[in-house]
Subunit: 439 residues, 2 copies
């Protein structure tokens, strides 16, 4: 696969020398003999490229390795693999395309890039006969890409339900465990480094949705713009929601879900009531977890760290080894990722038609018939009510929370019902809506 | 890798047409296009070999496929892969060696064969330039071999703790859930098909120990005769043990454990008190689960079906695809399985020196100072006592159970203490001993 395969070592270039990049560099420099055995040939970190040459990192590079000269790295004919750890979809996209055009294979941890520009990048990779490996882009150190793309190839995947954002899981489980409010836990998560200073892309579900789009491509061949996947974040979830969920035997997790149905692939991301005896309900703190159902293997559950310097470096370097050893090229030829596949292309189901049960919390100005009026709205939208709970607001005598667990309905009906509820004069924004996962 | 790689299809032969064989045959026959995409070439099931040509199976083979003629299958030059599903270590070993000598690659689900004859089989495979894939031999449909051998290659594995026998886990969790005795649950497990008519190799831990020996080779390069691994079964575990464990915040699972230590690889299989908040404590029924700690990835937890027709067929056919596509050859060249490795060979630690905490239940004829005498024995063997509980036997006024949780000691000291306790006149056999897993 390389013109240099008769050489006695393989060179790699690392572009993006931040936290993950430092972890990857340290691993490549420190574990040479072990990685050489795994790859079949010694791996030499030959270039580290970053505009910031001064910032202190927790790895010491050999003299002359770090530069801001991308051209030199891409122009080195001995470099077979370029590791992109810049992040984002701008410069990173340019670097990946240029690396492919220069004949390099690419390894990336960049979910935003793969989810947004997958079709363009993989078309280019196929055209130039190179590969793009991205295990680290979804669930960090957890081998979910390898499990779907390789270990479960004999299966038709039926469904995936996953916790793909450690920040959200830390916040929800910390609220649950210590009885704290969202804002307090978010502040603590920021203090501990589990949440960014600007946590928007984590808590609004965008990060998990990008990862789900990648899994939907891997498992179902479903090509979807991640921005078209129905998505809700956790920022509206209060402690009262966790308590209400608990009373009905559930815990709330931010779940990214993909499911095969006769009408197409069902995709959604949002806070979800998970039965308390399901493995996903036991996932605590910053862990990620993925539950995959194959028609032959049955349910498979994976849990591990989805982010962080070392777990992500573990996945990046495994991809580097797979690429050099030749497994990535074999796997990607079979997977036909983001291409016009030789099989029937998967269609994505209209989200409005996806069936399910729902949890609604409506904050209301106390009125005698508030619950009745809200129930009537649900009835008008063909949505049965399985249970209804009303409780007084702790902070105001005039306010109450009304919680519904619905029977089977559709996303579209619930959306319409919620929209209509919000026009009622006694209803306070915003109405909290969660899916209820099947037991 | 094959002289026939320019052909437009690849032939495989299946040897052993029992439950798993039927599942594999059905999958290969029913899912041709999907498997062809994954393998890069259509896969033709060309021979099914079994001495029993009459027994009904839940798959219908095309005319002429089933025979008892192994020579014909091995003599077919178009066959690239032989799937061994005979089981056991006699005929199966002969078939695998003959298949390798005939230039075939082998896929097997046979943990007893790989654990017992690994060195011989892999030496032969290397000599003839062929591969032996065995994902299905450990934890069935759960991709634990692929995770260790491929996804975690950038890691130094620190430890593995695993539930590798679904029958034992079904029995223990069923006792726990319904408050039933071992014998009653075993009978029910046999009725439901979760336990064999002769369950010896499951309940005495031999099956789990064979699988652990394979994992120890994969993860640490430790070559060990599985019969040398300290092993205890679950047949001495009573309901009272489950209750005593629960009182101290534990659940009892049959755990196969491998751990790297400065003194060598620590290996053991036996009933173990697992902290109730550990993922392994939540594993219910016939599931298998594997908890792997890598120095970079941190803890990774996998759960799924470790046996059964479809899960096992899923892993077997994934191996067939990996073998045909060429990934297996790449991976096995790097892993140097059961060979004289290019790295420092791993030593297995003397089991007697392995440190840990222990649970002991001693049934005694009631005597005033029974607990004191037993405690004195532990003290004589440098074993501190963390807690001591005495309870009356439900069936006899004259009997009592005395339960110890020890502090840190060694396997050797505990074994000696137990041996000495058994010489005391008021002690009834047999003393139940479990390891206590670290929190």
């Amino acid at each position: 696969m390389s013109t240099k395969s008769i050489s006695n070592k393989t060179k790699v270039a690392l572009v993006g020398f931040g936290t993950i990049g430092s972890g990857v560099a340290r691993l490549l420099l420190a574990e040479g003999p072990r990685l050489a055995r795994a790859a079949g040939i010694p791996i030499e970190l030959a270039h580290v490229v970053d505009p910031d040459l001064k910032r202190p990192r927790n790895v010491t590079l050999p003299e002359g390795l770090l530069s801001n000269d991308l051209d030199r790295a891409l122009g080195d004919p001995d470099v077979r693999v370029v590791i992109e750890l810049i992040g984002g979809t701008g410069v990173a996209r340019e670097v990946v395309l240029r690396a492919l055009d220069a004949g390099k294979n690419v390894v990336t941890a960049n979910k935003a890039l793969v989810a947004t520009h997958g079709p363009e990048l993989f078309e280019r990779a196929r055209r130039v006969g190179r590969t793009i490996a991205f295990e680290a882009a979804v669930a960090g150190g957890l081998p979910v890409i390898a499990t779907i793309g390789q270990s479960l190839t004999a299966n038709r995947i039926e469904s995936i339900e996953a916790i793909l954002n450690g920040t959200c899981n830390f916040i929800l489980t910390h609220m649950e465990q210590y009885g704290l409010d969202y804002a307090d836990v978010l502040a603590e998560a920021q203090r501990l480094g589990y949440a960014e200073a600007d946590p928007t892309l984590d808590v609004n579900g965008a990060d998990a949705t990008q990862k789900l789009a990648i899994l939907a491509q891997m498992a179902f061949g479903a090509t979807v713009d991640w921005r078209d996947i129905p998505r809700a974040g956790i920022d509206s979830i209060g402690l009262s929601d966790l308590l209400c969920a608990e009373m009905t035997g559930h815990r709330i997790r931010l779940i990214a879900a993909a499911r095969r149905s006769p009408e197409g692939i069902e995709l959604s991301v949002g806070p979800t009531l998970v039965p308390e005896d399901a493995p996903l309900a036991d996932v605590q703190g910053a862990f990620n977890a993925v539950s995959i159902v194959g028609d032959m293997a049955g349910p498979i559950f994976l849990q591990g760290y989805g982010a962080g310097q070392n777990p992500t470096a573990s996945a990046v370097v495994a991809d580097v080894i797979d690429t050099i050893a030749g497994r990535t090229a074999i796997t990607q030829a079979a997977l036909e990722l983001w291409s016009t596949p030789s099989r029937e292309p998967a269609t994505v189901r209209d989200p409005a038609t996806i069936a399910g049960r729902f949890y609604l919390r409506v904050n209301v100005q106390k009125e005698l018939d508030a619950a009745a009026q809200l129930s009537r709205v649900l009835a008008e939208h063909q949505t049965p009510v399985d249970s209804l709970t009303q409780y007084d607001d702790e902070d105001s005598q005039n306010l109450a929370g009304i919680v519904f667990l619905t029977g089977q309905t559709t996303e579209g009906r619930i959306a319409a019902a919620v929209q209509q509820m919000e026009t009622l004069p006694f209803v306070h924004p915003e109405i909290v809506r969660c899916r209820v996962a099947d037991a």
